[in-house]
């Protein structure tokens, strides 16, 4: 169980993460969704003990990262920024990681084979394409066969085939009972690959739930076409619904269910041609939830790390 406990991280005056508090449960793929600069990578770095939290902590089964006996066997991570020396071969990179955590060298060949980069494993990493780098990152994350896996923006640089592969791969890992925590700024990607989603913006927790729960929270609208649009609109407004005229002569009614709209039309003797409940997409929910966060995003980007 991965727990983020009232985590705050400040870089000087910039608050990158502000009192985040949530749990990531095993057995499902958990998406970590937020605009760029919302604190996702910072949270990942704190989990791995790379950055020291200003307040709060991140724990793995009750222990902070530095207390793990063989960290790579308990937590595997694919970090967004490159974390490999360009002059070293993939194989040597993984061999060094394996040696540090007493992992058998034969495991290096296994993960190289699994991620499909075995044929280029002796080449210098600096010559790799973005996609090959991502595959190496995944190989590194899997090296210790850990129960908890963190992926920071994993689909960046992958081709469509690779994206499909990685989605299936997340599902498989989750089915095996592992904790799979995947960050992304792409809601469409999260809608397809995550079971649970945690939304953050400007370093703050915004929402948590399944895709269905998150979209249900935001009431959808009802699309109506009828024999008397003007009168129907008036009736809807009298019932405190929000009504928008659409270009295609249909009305978009918010605040009422399709049942309520249908019954109101029937009572007024208006014939309905169309009555369609419109589900809010995750994208709309995300935009709505993070609207404030995005407004400020250009002013307070995540502090550039590394170099």
């Amino acid at each position: 169980m991965l727990k983020i406990e009232h985590l705050t991280k400040r870089y000087g005056d910039v608050v990158a993460v502000d009192d985040l508090d949530f749990e990531v449960t095993p057995g499902v793929v958990t998406g970590f969704l937020g605009p760029n600069g919302s604190g996702k990578s910072t949270t990942m770095r704190v989990i791995l003990g790379l950055d020291r939290p200003t307040k709060g902590r991140a724990t793995i089964d009750g222990r902070v990262y530095g207390e793990l006996r063989h960290p790579l066997r308990e937590v595997g991570a694919l970090l967004e920024a490159k974390a490999v020396h360009p002059g070293r071969s993939a194989r040597n990179h993984l061999l060094a990681m394996a040696a540090s955590n007493n992992i058998a060298p034969s495991r290096v060949d296994e993960v190289l084979e699994f991620t499909g980069i075995a044929s280029v494993a002796t080449k210098r990493v600096g010559t790799y394409s973005l996609g090959m780098n991502q595959r190496l990152g995944i190989a590194a994350a899997l090296l210790g066969d850990p129960q908890i896996l963190l992926f920071d923006e994993p689909v960046n640089g992958l081709d469509p085939e690779g994206i499909k592969w990685i989605r299936d791969f997340f599902r498989t890992l989750a089915k095996e009972g592992r904790t799979v925590f995947v960050s992304s700024h792409l809601m469409s990607e999260m809608a397809l690959s995550a079971d649970q989603i945690i939304v953050i913006g400007r370093g703050r927790f915004i929402a948590q739930g399944s895709v269905d729960e998150l979209t249900a929270d935001v009431a959808g609208t009802v699309l109506v076409r009828s024999s008397d649009q003007a009168r129907l609109a008036e009736i809807m407004r009298s019932r405190h619904a929000t009504v928008h005229d659409r270009d295609d002569r249909a009305l978009s009614v918010g605040g009422l269910t399709s049942d309520e709209v249908g019954e109101a039309a029937f009572a007024a003797g208006i014939t309905l041609y169309e009555l369609t409940p419109q589900r809010a997409s995750l994208e709309e929910v995300f935009m709505g939830l993070t609207a404030d966060a995005v407004q400020y995003a250009s002013a307070s980007t995540e502090v550039p790390r590394g170099a």
């Binding site: 020291r52 990179h93 007493n102």
Partner: protein
């Protein structure tokens, strides 16, 4: 059940990393070329001019430190090897992988220092002995030579290798503090080249007081069979240089512990 992440496993990992990049191999090649090449040049020139050299120079001539002269050029190469061992981790971002694998940061520093000092000591000692023997071979017949059978001579040759190893560690410690290759190499060369120039501009009495503390002056003292004028003896010089490295490494380790990776 397997062992914990120990200093041994961390060192094994650092050894794989150290030997698997070109910059390390290249650094050692440059170190060897400078040590052997410059020493060969110096000793050959002296052999050629020996008969025309003034009597005082011939009287105070030290065949040991002269034959090890290339070491004072190779010191720049070993400083770069030491610095890059840590700064390249920052420039490439691999420090994140390193610390995710071994979160105990002091253990990372210790493992790197161990790998660096052992490999550097082996290479530098081999180079020192080869350079010394090469120099004596070039001298033989014309210029007086020294023998490893003499205690002070053996000590000087051994300390030449120790000097290079300590300077590699100094470069590494600066790397921990500065984290950037360019900044680190600049500071390192400034310490060795610019500080002596500044000291040279001071009044004579200050020069006498300060110049013996310069790293290269300590190096020359370590490689001399008898202490040169205004310099420390070999033992004291070694101790002072060890203190420099220890202070720099302590500051570097504290910085490494405190900063975000």
């Amino acid at each position: 059940m397997a062992r914990d992440v120990t200093l041994a496993s961390a060192s094994h990992a650092e050894w794989i990393k150290f030997r698997s990049v070109r910059s390390t191999v290249l650094g050692f090649v440059v170190t060897a070329l400078l040590t052997l090449g410059i020493s060969a040049l110096i000793t050959s020139v002296i052999r050629g001019h020996w008969t025309t050299m003034d009597p005082l120079s011939r009287l105070t001539f030290d065949p040991v430190s002269t034959s090890l002269g290339g070491t004072l050029f190779a010191q720049f190469a070993v400083g770069v090897i030491g610095a890059l061992f840590i700064t390249s981790e920052y420039s490439s971002g691999s420090i994140r992988t390193t610390l995710a694998a071994v979160p105990q940061r002091l253990r990372v520093v210790a493992a790197k220092a161990l790998v660096l000092s052992v490999s550097m000591l082996i290479v530098a000692e081999v180079l020192s002995f080869v350079t010394f023997l090469m120099g004596q071979a070039i001298f033989s017949g014309v210029v007086p030579t020294a023998s490893l059978a003499t205690g002070a001579v053996l000590r000087s040759v051994i300390l030449a290798g120790v000097y290079l190893t300590l300077l590699a560690l100094l470069g590494f410690a600066l790397g921990l503090i500065l984290r950037q290759s360019a900044a680190c190499i600049t500071v390192f060369t400034s310490l060795l080249l610019v500080v002596p120039i500044i000291v040279f501009l001071l009044p004579q009495s200050w020069q006498d007081a300060f110049s013996k503390y310069e790293p290269s002056a300590l190096g020359r003292a370590m490689m001399s069979t008898t202490p040169p004028a205004q310099m420390f003896g070999a033992g004291t010089a070694t101790v002072i240089l060890v203190i420099y490295v220890a202070v720099a490494a302590t500051v570097g380790s504290i910085a490494f512990l405190r900063r975000d990776a």
